[in-house]
Each structure stands twice: as C-alpha cells, then as structure tokens.
C-alpha cells in the first residue's frame, strides 16, 4: 500500500518536474535540480520584483474594487449580483492587463540583459541556467502581476457573493466588503512593514488612509453629480 503510494508520488513529482522543465524551456536531459524553484528564484533575483509587483497590484485591485463598490452603493444599486459582476469584471480586466503587461515588459528587460551577457561572454546562452531562470522570472512575475489584483477584487466581492445564501442585506454586505477592502489594505501595509523591517504601524496606516481618501473622493463626487 505504502509502496503504491510512494510510486504514485514519484510519478506525480516526475510529471511536475517535466512540466517545470517544459515551461522554463530546459534542455531534453532536464533533471529536477535543473528546475528547482528555489534555485531559479535565487539566480533570477525575482523575489524582490515579485514582492513589489504583488503589493503594487493588489493595492491597485483593492482600491479599484473599493471604488466600484462605493460608487455602486451611492448610485443606488441594490443588486448584489450586479456588484459581483462589475467587481469581478474589473478584476479580470486587471488580471489580463497586469499579466500581459508584466509579461511583455519583463520579457523585454530580461532579453536585453541576456543579450548584454552574451556579448560580455562571447557565448550563446540559449538553454542555459541563466536563460531558464530568466524565463521562469518572466512567467512568475506575469502570473503574480495578474493574480494579485484579481485576488483583491475576489476578496471584496465575496460578501456580495454569499449575501444571497446568508440572506444579508445589501447595506450589510457592502459594509463587510468595505471592511474587507480596508483589512486587505492594512494587511498589505503590514506585509510592507515586514519587508522593510521597519514600522508595522506606519505602512498599514498609510495604506488605510489611501483607501479612506479614495472613498471620501468617491462619496463627495457622488454627492456633486
């Protein structure tokens, strides 16, 4: 039984490893250690870019979703499904714009770096560890760039999504959604505080204030129009 399970795991890890080899364009004799995520992340130096894009885009997504929820609320929309469709629509638009934009810009930058390195080394770097790690970085960055705003939108849309099942009023669902949005901004601030190894109060406070400022502008704008 245990043997069957371990062979199953072995097969699965082989499939995962082969898939990783394929997506990073590793050579035919690709071994699992050639495509170890830890190694590729270390060489490509993607961790820092990954963190930066994650926070930037999740902040974008959270603020945009908060804006949509507030805008619809003050416009008198009372259908939760309309809010869910709009917020998720905005989320998917940001997913595509973020991931494709990041893919193209990161690819161009990495290709430039690879060409410069080839010139310095007088060697074709195709299929090398450096090229593999560059390709991995491009894919990872574009994925993070797309998923982070979508995740923020999905979090903020959740209270409206479950409001039908839990029989919540629109106002209550909107209040929870705004609370979730503010909490997301606060969590991003705490993450930035940890990254900077600095203040765990300053960053969240700044993020939440940005959310509140955008909310005030939206409410004031709604009152004027």
């Amino acid at each position: 039984m245990e043997e069957a399970e371990s062979s199953h795991k072995g097969f699965l890890s082989k499939v995962v490893s082969r898939f990783k080899c394929l997506i990073v364009g590793a050579p035919a004799r690709c071994r699992p250690e050639d495509v170890s995520f830890k190694k590729l992340m270390l060489i490509s130096g993607v961790t820092e870019i990954f963190r930066r894009y994650f926070v930037m885009n999740m902040f974008d997504g959270a603020l945009a979703a908060l804006g949509v929820v507030l805008g619809m609320w003050i416009s008198g929309v009372i259908d939760p499904k309309t809010v869910v469709r709009t917020v998720l629509g905005a989320g998917f638009a940001m997913f595509f714009s973020g991931s494709l934009g990041a893919y193209l810009t990161e690819k161009a930058e990495r290709e430039r770096k690879l060409r410069e390195l080839e010139e310095s080394m007088f060697q074709d770097m195709r299929g090398s560890l450096f090229e593999r790690s560059s390709r991995f970085a491009v894919l990872l960055v574009s994925l993070v760039d797309g998923i982070s705003p979508l995740l923020a939108c999905a979090l903020i849309a959740t209270p409206f999504l479950v409001s039908g099942v839990l029989n919540l009023s629109f106002t209550f669902a909107a209040s929870i959604a705004i609370g979730v949005g503010i909490a997301t901004l606060g969590a991003l601030g705490v993450f930035l505080g940890k990254v900077s190894r600095g203040s765990l109060i300053g960053y969240p406070l700044f993020m939440i204030l940005a959310g509140l400022a955008s909310a005030i502008v939206i409410v004031l704008l709604g009152a004027q129009i």
């Binding site: 050579p27 050639d34 390195l117 090398s128 560890l129 450096f130 790690s133």
Partner: protein, 87 residues
C-alpha cells in the same frame, strides 16, 4: 592501454548571478568527478572570472564542458591537466 584525466584546471567566465556553489555542485555531480574547487579571480560588472579545479578518477572533459555551458559558464582556456595511464 587507457588514459584517464585526473585533474583539470579551467579558466572560465560566468554571469555574476550564477553562484559558485551551484556551479561546483553541478560539476561535482558528473560521473568520474570527485572534487571541485572554484576560486573567483576577477569580478566585472556582469561577469566573474573563475579558476575551476576538477579532480577525479576519470574526468569526461566533454561532459564538464556541457555542464558548464548548461550552467551559463564559458570555458576560456584549460590551464593545467593531469592524465594518468593504466597498462
């Protein structure tokens, strides 16, 4: 009569992003290689010049070249070689 390469001293160039620990482990994983020593001799903006000493019972130079190219390192010259003969 067979000859075996016991030691190679390679002068190579590698990108700064590739750690010498990874490069040395990759070379040491080759069959017939028992010990690898890497010394960085020069650091440039994008690249590092390294002296790689490969020791073993039967070193396959082609395989060492292949693994080095796969790990983004370019061989500039082979500065020392030790070969032994088995009659």
């Amino acid at each position: 009569m067979s000859t075996f390469i016991k030691k190679l001293l390679i002068d190579a160039l590698k990108p700064r992003e590739i750690p010498i620990t990874e490069l040395s482990k990759a070379i040491c994983a080759i069959k017939g290689v028992e010990e690898v020593n890497i010394v960085v001799t020069e650091v440039d903006a994008r690249t590092e010049t390294v002296k790689i000493t490969v020791m073993g019972s039967d070193i396959d130079f082609e395989e060492v070249s292949r693994v080095m190219a796969e790990n983004s390192a370019a061989i500039r010259s082979v500065d020392e070689v030790t070969v032994s003969k088995v009659k």
